[in-house]
């Protein structure tokens, strides 16, 4: 009670009697959050790693050229030994080769591209749908809400993996379909969060104030509610991206995602476990798995940091 009361003491604006000038005046909540995020070393490390991944994905072609192997190029001479087993990490293949003599590093680089594109695109698509549906469900009253909330319940209740496999089997796998499938099964979770937040925000006095001024539903939803949703949604996006990346890897692993020979972390893992190859060629399993784990970890840690930065209450109370 006491500490929060004190910490919440607003800083009086300069020019008023008794107010010392200076400090953090006039900065938007976003600027404040950004300032807090910049002080967070873990967050900075995660951002650096994610930027690195993006660069790797963007410059996959020149990188593979530099390394000297194409993503599907089979090195029959040195990639496999006389028994047909892949060669390990060394001078020719930095991270080793796979059962067809393809370079693991180059395939990882191209897999990064797939993971990021599918992960980010699916997450963004899910967020857009989820925000729109959640906002309408939360704001437009009980009739709209009961329909949309049921819809979200139904989507969330789907056995999504089975459904995804069935769908892909029927339509035939493609990157676009994979994005669609992941987005379709992710938006409802976003929608639920947004709906809950909207229900809380619409009871706030500033929404009443806007109504009493004569503002219509659309204006209130866009001007008053949406900016207050950005923080929780942003946090959720940073957590949804790694979920989508893992989802993508899962589908590819199961053979219903990215079609070989195009590389993805998921189908690399699938190759590794096929025939128990990983027992003799650990690099085959270890590097794609490590890429997946590190990427997921980076996004998750960043999500935590973003949440802390956007929620000054916890920060102010507990940080020194």
């Amino acid at each position: 009670m006491s500490i929060s009361e004190l910490a919440d003491q607003p800083m009086p604006a300069p020019g008023d009697a008794g107010a010392p000038s200076g400090s953090v005046l006039g900065r938007s909540p976003w600027q404040l959050a950004w300032a807090r995020l910049r002080r967070d070393r873990v967050a900075l490390a995660c951002v650096a790693f994610i930027v690195f991944l993006i660069l790797v994905a963007v410059f996959a072609d020149p990188l593979s050229h530099l390394i000297g192997w194409g993503p599907t190029q089979q090195d029959r001479a040195t990639g496999t030994d006389i028994n047909g087993l892949p060669t390990g990490p060394g001078r020719i293949h930095l991270l080793g080769a796979d059962q067809l003599g393809r370079d693991i590093l180059v395939r990882l680089i191209y897999g990064t591209r797939v993971s990021l594109v599918v992960g980010v695109a699916a997450a963004l698509a899910a967020v857009v749908i989820g925000v729109i549906v959640g906002l309408c469900a939360g704001f437009l009253g009980p009739a709209v809400d009961s329909v949309l909330a049921r819809l979200m319940d139904v989507v969330l209740a789907f056995p999504f993996l089975l459904f995804a496999i069935a769908l892909v089997t029927v339509i035939g796998p493609s990157e676009l379909l994979e994005i669609g499938v992941i987005a379709f099964f992710s938006w409802a979770a976003v929608g639920r969060i947004v709906r809950g937040q909207t229900l809380a925000i619409r009871e706030r006095e500033y929404v009443e104030a806007a109504r009493s001024l004569g503002a219509g539903n659309l204006r209130i939803m866009v001007i008053d509610v949406l900016p207050n949703l950005i923080a929780p949604v942003l946090v959720y996006v940073t957590l949804l991206i790694p979920i989508s990346i893992v989802f993508e890897a899962t589908l590819s692993f199961l053979g219903v995602g990215i079609i070989p020979p195009t590389a993805s972390w998921g189908n690399m893992l699938n190759d590794a476990q096929a025939g128990g190859l990983y027992q003799v060629a650990w690099w085959f399993l270890a590097f794609p798995a490590a890429a997946l784990v590190l990427t997921t970890l980076a996004f998750n840690l960043l999500g935590d940091s973003v949440r802390d930065a956007l929620d000054p209450r916890t920060e102010r109370l507990f940080a020194k």
Binding site: P10, P12, G15, S28, E208, A209, L213, G214, N228
Partner: protein
């Protein structure tokens, strides 16, 4: 209920001095249970037949304790809530059934100031844009013109116009309430409903806001409906005062009459319970300590709703609801809903109430 409406003096709606007339305004909130098929299991009778008139240029004080329905009534007047029944006549027009679209012109004339200086301003928006909202919504001014108007308003309420681009979190409670006042004032409304505008503020700041509201009133000829639970504040600002208890007006009179010779036992108890920052006067007053708490508005007591807590209740109080009419030899300007109104100078006994719900004499 209806005869109470008829009996309140002459029809105030036709009087040119009347800005707003409420007739039998009722707001019930249904309580629904059930997961998919919701059935109504009861109603919160938040406002249960309120008849009031607000005169041009006056400050009408509305007092009552938590849960008496005063804030709900405020939101009925500003049409934030649809009415269950009853009519609201504003400046000669019935606005109680208007659609949101038809309501828009009236929204410019009836504005509201909220209780919570923290909750009533969107934390993610800049002050300039918050105060400029009324202009944006009603398409009054754009761009540079809007900015000038907003800064004019900021100056008017005692804010530094240079702080146009700041966020609410940069301001203290009192300053935020000034922002709320500026927003309410933007379209030069006729009526401002002030819902506990100072109760969340520190005392030294309260007085700043009260003085600001008063000076704006004389400058722009505003009419205020001033809702508060603090009687000393209401006494200070109001011309006439209405006392609300469990969704109903129990007494309505000029300030001097209501504070000088309260008729309703509840008014008398409320007056005596108000804290006075003056030890001698606090010690001198005869304090009536009411027993028990305000009953639930879901299932209000029969007859006079105050009877379970009233020290002078008689059996009739639990059976027959008293009409809101002039009592004893009061003029039509002082109306009270009580079967046994207090005479001038009559003190309320401090004993426990003798009538329980249903009219049976209680054992204790």
């Amino acid at each position: 209920m209806t005869d109470a409406a008829k009996l309140t003096s002459t029809d105030p709606a036709g009087d040119p001095n009347t800005l707003m007339t409420l007739t039998n305004v009722v707001k019930h909130f249904p309580i629904r249970r059930g997961v998919i098929i919701k059935s109504e299991v009861g109603q919160v009778k938040a406002v249960d037949g309120v008849t009031l008139d607000i005169r041009r240029g006056e400050t009408l004080g509305l007092v009552g304790e938590t849960g008496c329905g005063k804030s709900t009534l405020a939101r009925c007047i500003t049409r934030l809530f649809p009415l269950t029944s009853g009519t609201i006549n504003f400046d000669g027009h019935d606005i109680s059934r208007l659609s949101p679209r038809a309501m828009r012109p009236y929204r410019r004339q009836v504005q509201m100031i909220f209780q919570d200086p923290y909750g009533s301003l969107n934390p993610r928006r800049r002050i300039g844009s918050i105060i400029g909202d009324p202009f944006a919504i009603h398409g009054v001014a754009d761009g540079q013109e809007r900015k000038l108007k907003v800064q004019e308003l900021m100056e008017l309420v005692g804010l530094n116009p240079e702080h146009y681009n700041r966020f609410p979190s940069d301001f203290s409670g009192g300053q935020r309430q000034r922002i709320g006042v500026a927003r309410a004032l933007a379209l030069r409304p006729k009526l401002i409903v002030c819902d506990e505008p100072v109760s969340a503020l520190d005392v030294s700041i309260q007085a700043q806001i009260i003085n600001l509201l008063k000076s704006l009133q004389s400058e722009f000829g505003l009419t205020y409906l001033f809702i508060a639970h603090d009687l000393s504040v209401v006494e200070h600002v109001s011309d006439r005062v209405a006392v609300m208890y469990l969704g109903k007006i129990v007494e309505f009179a000029d300030k001097s009459k209501l504070f000088g010779s309260p008729r309703h036992p509840y008014t008398a108890a409320l007056l005596s319970a108000t804290s006075i920052a003056d030890p001698d006067r606090a010690a001198a007053r005869q304090r009536i300590v009411l027993h028990g708490d305000v009953p639930s508005p879901i299932n209000p007591p029969t007859g006079c709703r105050f009877h379970p807590r009233c020290p002078i209740a008689q059996p009739i109080c639990s059976q027959l609801e008293p009409a809101l009419i002039p009592v004893l030899n009061d003029t039509s300007a002082h109306i009270t809903a009580c079967h046994f109104p207090l005479a001038d100078g009559q003190h309320l006994p401090t004993g426990r109430p003798s009538i329980e719900q249903g009219g049976e004499k209680s054992a204790s």
